[in-house]
Symmetry: C2
Subunit: 359 residues, 2 copies
């Protein structure tokens, strides 16, 4: 089991990467523990991995984006208080990003912060969201409007959990894995290109664990000294400026990580047009990385330029007049601009549409 | 205007202490500002201090303990979003501890933390709660069950606000001022003894500002290296272990800081009985500090031993079997025990009752 140590202003924490589920046994020795488990994960493992759990200590939580809000947080408070939760209790939550958001927000606010162990079960959560201290909740019509900075005390991840993921969810996670490898510099990017066939074939757990570990290491390097996301951590939004808009225009039919791949193709088109990326690198990334991993493609109407523009103007991170775009440039350096206008967006979006039509 | 700089793991911040209200003018230059003002403070100052404020930028918030919950936080979210709040907005909140809790929790969770300026208007908030990063909300029947660690970016305080406080609220604040001076060592404790007549007469703003500044400095020294309250910061609960119980048995008829004074008398009785405090010091504190500042006294039934015991067992900070008590000892050192049993509680409570009956 390898361990990544993460420094956080709130508290330092550790990510334990394991090829087996053995770590679950040790949880049973934790006093005042309480499990919150995604109902999908529960259904898959209730008679095997979780058969030994005392049902009194488990809340099985039905998970969907519509439930990522304060009402569900209150369900968690109620379940914990019904078992006389004290401030020295430990919550162990098992699931994907939505479980992380709901239980993380609950853990951060109950007694101003209780002990929390998170076991990410999706590739997206394992390779990306589990570190970074962020929790988010939807509020009324506002997506991710509220949240907190609060890391788990410990994260335990095992790629075996991803075996039961649907292709749609697995390749959503793969989008962030690709993004982080591209952001990690040329060596890592080329390593990804050679491992991508194994990763997309879903048959090499050792390659997957290694890709997860490297993804987390890259994310960490961008979070260093910017935990609260006021500077370079923002570059992790590579692929997200346009990607979030595609999620929105597709009404979330395009999974998050897949939308990020579309967003990276878009950013590369702009980088190429601005002379920041060579045609060679552009083509290499397009055909060896991005298009092969794009399994859920947006339709023409989901890429309507006016709607994309409107969605990008809503970007929470935007504080000025122009649109924000983060690009990978030749030499694998990141670059952020805040001056993208409608004409540039329209032209790049046209090229994106014809790329997707041809591919 | 003197300034206290506070180091915080979340972000460093400053407390500006001022004899005048001039700082309010400068707020008008802050872009994307929004005011949240306690309705009581608003009524008192709407035609004077606040006459120039754009009503579109003000939420007047009716304040009561029953409203210190997530529903009121949502009222704040709604008011902010109705004015298209962006993540670079600044919330300026003016009021006492409840306003601090509601607006601080709102500011900490909206966009995972927006800019926040706090102007404490009560003595309790000025001399104690404004620093320390804590926000708390009630949840269902649980008092202060949920909350966050989130300091304001800036705190501006002016003791003039306390002129309009009712005696009941002023002397509640005085309880914490006394506690912090006693915890600051012998020199500060004796300084308080000589200033107490001026402070209780409420006619010397310079003495008050100085007492506030010293109270904050003592609190800071206990928070140093323990912002998240896992060690020595806990000693700030001097007077609170028993005091919280008195608040509870009196159904909050005894104001917080007054209950803390009762709690300090109780703690001193135990310290004397355990040989940790001399009779001389005990009497000096009793007659020169604690009894003169105790203006709202609990009745005999509010000090029912069984009920006090039951309430102390509910203490959120308690993790073991015995009751927790924090005591001042001879030499003005603090000491925490976790072994107080029912017999010791009963006997000390008897002495407390007869002290209050005689005084």
């Amino acid at each position: 089991m390898s361990v990544i140590r993460v420094h956080s202003a709130i508290r330092d924490y550790e990510v334990h990467l394991s090829e087996s589920f053995d770590f679950l046994d040790a949880f049973e020795k934790i006093p005042n523990r309480f499990y919150v488990i995604d109902s999908n994960v529960w259904k898959l493992y209730r008679d095997s991995l979780f058969a030994y759990l005392n049902p009194q200590l488990v809340l099985v939580l039905p998970i969907e984006e519509e439930r990522k809000n304060l009402s569900t947080v209150m369900e968690v408070y109620d379940a914990l208080m019904a078992r006389s939760a004290k401030r020295n209790m430990t919550m162990i939550s098992i699931g994907g990003g939505i479980v992380q958001d709901i239980t993380g927000f609950s853990a951060s606010t109950l007694y101003r912060g209780i002990n929390w162990i998170f076991v990410p079960s999706t590739l997206l959560a394992q390779a990306d969201s589990c570190i970074g201290s962020k929790t988010s909740l939807n509020y009324k019509n506002y997506k991710n409007l509220i949240g907190s900075f609060f890391p788990p005390n410990q994260i335990y991840l095992c790629p075996k959990f991803t075996k039961t993921l649907k292709d749609k969810d697995y390749f959503s996670g793969m989008g962030e894995v690709i993004k982080l490898h591209l952001m990690g510099g040329e060596v890592l990017a080329r390593e990804l290109m050679s491992n991508l066939p194994a990763l997309t074939a879903r048959d090499n757990p050792t390659a997957l664990l290694s890709a997860i570990e490297k993804s987390l290491a890259v994310k960490l390097s961008y979070m260093q000294d910017d935990e609260f996301d006021t500077g370079k951590r923002n570059l992790l939004n590579f692929g997200h400026c346009f990607g979030h808009a595609v999620e929105s225009t597709s009404e979330f039919a395009i999974p998050h990580g897949q939308a990020v791949i579309v967003g990276m193709i878009f950013a590369n088109i702009v980088a190429k047009a601005r002379g920041l990326m060579s045609l060679d690198l552009f083509h290499e990334l397009q055909f060896k990385v991005l298009l092969p991993a794009l399994t859920t493609r947006p339709t023409q109407s989901q890429l309507n330029t006016e709607q994309i523009m409107a969605a990008m103007q809503m970007d929470k991170k935007r504080t000025g007049e122009g649109l924000v775009l983060i690009m990978l440039t030749e030499g694998f350096e990141m670059c952020k601009v805040e001056d993208m206008g409608f004409a540039e967006l329209t032209s790049a979006n046209q090229e994106l549409l014809s790329t997707l039509a041809k591919a």
